[in-house]
């Protein structure tokens, strides 16, 4: 890894390719949850790697490279979220009443499908859900990153969870209907 990073600092294309290939899957798994589609996620990944290669001199070798890359990918995804938000009418959220699902059905849902459900959230809910639940930010940090108040962050998280429950229920119903 050290040699790869040194190669990237010299702008050696082969080193850049190997680093890209090594961390591509990890980077895309982060960006996919923040993006509306996988196509957009791949664009975000490449934008993120552009930043990685441009700022590689700022990387501190004593810390984890993976954590540094993760941070850059999240920030790049948030930049994309800001662009999306400009014209996105926030979807009105109906209250989720009494959503029950079959535990076995949940376990059957693939990771890819679950990420697909996260992508279906509105950008504001998706960003808060990802930052708070998956990436471990506090509501204060989420508010700072997205330019919203901690209260709005909590509210959006609540609505994001409600939407996800409803989508899981829909998914479960479709599967049930298919089986029968």
């Amino acid at each position: 890894m050290y040699l790869l990073i040194q190669g990237c600092k010299r702008k050696d294309r082969e080193s850049q390719r190997l680093l890209y290939q090594h961390y591509y899957s990890y980077a895309l798994s982060i960006c996919a949850r923040y993006s509306t589609t996988n196509a957009i996620a791949r664009e975000v990944v490449n934008d993120g790697f552009m930043k990685v290669f441009a700022k590689i001199h700022q990387y501190n070798p004593e810390s984890s490279f993976k954590a540094w890359l993760r941070k850059i990918m999240i920030h790049t995804a948030i930049d994309q979220y800001r662009k999306e938000l400009k014209h996105m009418n926030q979807a009105s959220v109906e209250s989720a009443h009494g959503v029950f699902i079959q535990p076995r059905a949940v376990s059957d849902i693939s990771h890819e499908e679950l990420i697909g459900l996260v992508q279906r959230l509105s950008p504001a809910y998706r960003a808060v859900f990802n930052l708070y639940v998956i990436d471990g930010y506090t509501h204060e940090e989420v508010g700072k990153a997205l330019g919203i108040s901690p209260g709005t962050s909590k509210s959006n998280l609540l609505k994001a969870r409600e939407n996800l429950r409803r989508m899981l229920e829909d998914l479960n119903r479709v599967r049930y209907e298919k089986v029968n």
């Binding site: 290939q21 490449n46 699902i101 429950r165």
Partner: protein
Amino acid sequence: MKKLTDRELDDLFKSAAEGYQPSFDSADWEAMNHKLNEKPASTWKKWTPFMALSLAVFFTGVWVGTRLMDSHQPVLPKEKPDSGKAVTGLANQEEANAIANNKATAQEVPLRQLDGMRNQNKQLTKKEKDSDLLSVRMAEDMALIKENRVDESIVYPGEVPFWGLVNGQEKNVPDSVSGFERADVTPDTAVIRDEREEVVKRTDRVHSLSVRLLAAPDFSSINFYPTKEMGSNYSIQLEYQLHPRLSVSTGAILSSKKYSSDKEVIYSGYRANDLIGSCRVMDVPVQLYYYLQPDKKTNFFAGLGASSYLMLKEEYTYSIQQAYGSRQYTRQVERKNNEWFKVLNLSAGVQRAIGERWHLQAEPFVKVPLSGVGEGDVLLSSWGVFMGFKYQFR
């Protein structure tokens, strides 16, 4: 049956995020490699095509105009007596002939010789006043003489000889003109008192260059659907007069276009249920103008041309019907699309002279799409009214 708690829900998606491992796609590295190879283009490089096009159009217009001018160049009378006739009003015929033969420049003419001319002009008859145009030219020549540093103190209003001697160049003097109305011109201001205000010297302004500064509201829509939002247009254009009635114009219009549609539209080949668009566009028009009354202070005109759209920034939000319902998408791109001559420009307007060189202009316009433009390949039409000034260089 179990209600999923917040913690269970969070754990479910956390594990999905950790376990999700998309496979490597070599096409993405190709895109990345291409991106790394791209050097950040400097601003002037981005505008090179636009500059080259504008310059090409402009100089072509100038060239065509020059050719037209050459083909209409009047033939100068070669015989001396004719020339002498043309400058009647001089104190003596010998001076007139000498001047008409272009043997002396304006500076070289002994200005004191002109002293005797003033009284001569009293003999002018009403017949001799029949050309306002000539009076205007005389005023212009007086101004040019001033530029040649002729002593103003000994240049008298309406001195005829200079009419044929601007910068030492012989001019064609109509035979019909034999005199001037002295009171119409003063040496300091060269102002023409034109009793018939509608007749002005704009007929002399062929092959001149103008700059136009205009602004307009922008109403844009897809397929001419009614629009609610308003954008803006700010324009700077150069206009070259090819003929008293015909001119060519080009320049740049910085345009903000906002539009939306609740009806079904085609976005990038897809049927979108609705669409909200917002674009910043550098509109590069190439336009021909036809002036209906070039010799009037108030002049009506019509324009026809085409525009190229350099899409600086595009933002779209649209919905597409899918199996589980309508899904909303957003798309934002910057400086990705350049649309060359895909928009037809039609306009009609009026201009009013407010001085020697300034004009006020109002120009309602409509821009009709000849093809889809931008990321969504949408048929974007626009209309509005340009208002502003035109400054005409001599």
